[in-house]
Amino acid sequence: MFPFVYDFRWEATSLIFLGVFFAVITTLMMMVATVTVRSVKDLRTRKIGTLRWHETFEDLPAGARSCRFAMSGFAPGRSCDNFFECGTCAVYPRFRSLEERHRPEDHESRSGHGGFGIDEKRYYHRGHTWLQEEEDGTCVIGLDDFAARLLGPNPTYQLPPAGSTLKQHQPAFTIQTGESSVRVVSPIDGEVLEAGDSTRGWLLRIRPSTQLPHARHLFRAGEARRWFQAELERLNRLVEIPGVGATLADGGTPVDSFRETRPDANWDGILGVMMLDV
């Protein structure tokens, strides 16, 4: 193999053969080395949170990744390829302007669609949290109605202490319900000011790092309605909720707790897939 090995043959075939072999080996080793170096660098620069979100996003089922404009009918079937970062999305402005020109009638806006309470003041995140701006400039974060019905009665919350930093799309707090635990991602960057609980109507009070109107990735009420509908459909594909299929079509009211209707389903899996924690 090497010139110093006994019986090494200095002949063209041998040299070409070994040349190719060593080229392959070198490429392989270089690759592994590059990957290792990059990984160390990534670990050091603490981009790990973003990275984890990107990985989580990649792992989401295709149904969970549909583009917001797909739901509003402007880009049918489109999947998000930008990790839900509408702020940096190349196609967002185009679709947004389209949407503004042909604003659909908000005829369902008075009460929540499908029995989900939708608050006009709130911004909804794809991880089933909402964000509401308070008068003092702080925001409160809570779980939306859909999440509440997914979680069932008496979930417990492990909330971050005051002073913690939240990163958009990265886990903010954990909910334990039954045997499953699900990480809820933060709708926005910010700093935790106070932890609440379900009785106060919100879970975290934060000071956001961005002005909310610029948080393009969040849904406003009209969009949230369509999104809830899409989510219900998605849920129904995962597990047939009795009555829901029928009620949706005629705008009926879904049950209070999805769980109780189908206790046999894999709720841990459903929770993860619906709340972006796979």
């Binding site: 790990i48 990985e55 899996g269």
Partner: protein, 412 residues
């Protein structure tokens, strides 16, 4: 119990069921490993091979499963190099199957050689003229490539990816997969070909000897082409089988049909070239060595039917089936066609190994028969059990079919 390890959104059978399944295969594996151990500890006298029948079941197995493992490189080629993104749906499974096939083949090869402890001599004193050297080098390299390709799939396990270091490693590894796929295609091309060349260069075996281009006999190219042809067929079969066993929809039917169509075209090309090659061999190559090709098929168990079966029944027929839209869209027929195609390649590998050795060369030599010993069969079974186990674990704890979550409900 182990739900923390199962990707969220995948519904898997209970741990109890899985344990029973695993236990069964572990017992089978144990039996197989015992046979393999006997061959290593007592020597190859445990087999029914002999000085004339120097290769037996194992080499046939190696050649066949390496051809079946071609799905890994070929799907990689389609996905990463030809950018056919629909094959993301099967790439992970194809990689796992590739890894199983290649590692299984290497393990069997290590038992098949008389002195496994000297296996590294091939690297130390390589003979660049030998097809076997090429095979050894390429297969070892490709096994490494497959192991590296398997890594990101493994590290995406729900529990493993919690560790930041593994997560970033996996993330970065994933970015270079196309390069790996390219290396894999390069290596596969050569060793699939060299496996064909192994027999094609044997001028002393006129039944297998073929003329060719440059240093490569025609079997080199035929093996590459045939491996590529069942590259898509075998994942089609395994996916259907896993789907059947797990009772889950794993990929969209269009993906399988697409695999079938590609397989069909390649198979058609293969059958065409194989026919031309056979005609050249019958009319020129073999007579020039004074061996009448018709005599090869005079022997009892190997009549011309085997040639007909290889080329028509297991070649042309599945190729045409896969190229017919109606048949392709029917799930049962699609699987049948895939099965026929894979069987055709297995028959080809059988003919190249077993029939070649059974036929006499010296005019006074008798025709030989060979029946593998139980130790050989056990070793064969060990590879199958190993494959089933590795695949089962991968299927349960890793995400082999990304489309699965979109195609299945999560009810129990």
């Amino acid at each position: 119990m182990d739900s923390k390890f199962i990707t969220r959104g995948l519904e898997r059978t209970s741990l109890r069921n899985f344990s029973v399944w695993v236990l069964f295969w572990v017992v089978v594996l144990g039996f197989g490993l015992y046979g393999a151990y006997l061959c290593l500890a007592e020597g190859l006298n445990q087999t029914n091979m002999d000085n004339r029948f120097v290769f037996g079941l194992w080499i046939f197995l190696d050649l066949a499963i390496i051809a079946f493992g071609a799905g890994a490189f070929f799907t990689g080629l389609l996905l990463y190099i030809l950018k056919r993104s629909e094959f993301t749906a099967v790439i992970n499974s194809a990689v796992v199957i590739g890894l199983i096939c290649y590692s299984g083949a290497v393990a069997v090869l290590a038992i098949d050689v008389g002195q496994p402890l000297r296996a590294w001599f091939t690297f130390w004193h390589p003979n660049a003229h030998s097809m076997l050297t090429e095979v050894t080098f390429c297969i070892s390299c490709y096994l490494v490539v497959l192991a590296v390709e398997y890594m990101p799939i493994l590290l995406k396990n729900r529990k493993l990816k919690e560790r930041p270091s593994l997560l970033v490693f996996q993330h970065n590894l994933h970015k270079v997969i196309p390069v790996l796929a390219a290396i894999g295609v390069f290596l596969s091309f050569f060793h699939q070909g060299s496996l064909g060349g192994l027999y094609g260069v044997l001028k002393g075996r006129p039944f297998a000897f073929r003329e060719g281009f440059g240093i490569w006999p025609s079997t080199f190219f035929l093996f590459v082409l045939s491996a590529a042809a069942i590259g898509p067929s075998f994942p089609l079969l395994t996916t259907s089988l896993v789907s059947k066993i797990s009772r889950k929809k794993l990929v969209k039917p269009e993906v399988l049909q697409s695999l079938g169509r590609i397989s069909g075209w390649l198979l058609l090309a293969y059958v065409l070239f194989k026919s031309v090659d056979t005609l050249v061999w019958i009319n020129r190559t073999s007579p020039s060595l004074l061996f009448s090709p018709y005599e090869y098929y005079n022997q009892e168990s190997f009549g011309t039917w085997i040639l007909f079966a290889e080329i028509v029944v297991f070649g042309l027929v599945p190729a045409l089936m896969l190229l017919t839209r109606k048949i392709r869209e029917h799930r049962g027929w699609l699987i049948t066609a895939g099965l026929l195609a894979c069987a055709g390649i297995a028959v080809n590998r059988f003919v190249m190994t077993i029939q070649t050795l059974a036929l006499p060369t010296l005019p006074f030599d008798p025709f030989l028969s060979y029946i593998p010993s139980w130790q050989e069969i056990a070793t064969f079974i060990a590879v199958i059990a190993y494959g089933v186990l590795l695949y089962s674990f991968s299927f349960r704890y890793l995400t082999l079919f990304p489309q699965e979550r979109d195609l299945n409900s999560l009810t129990r």
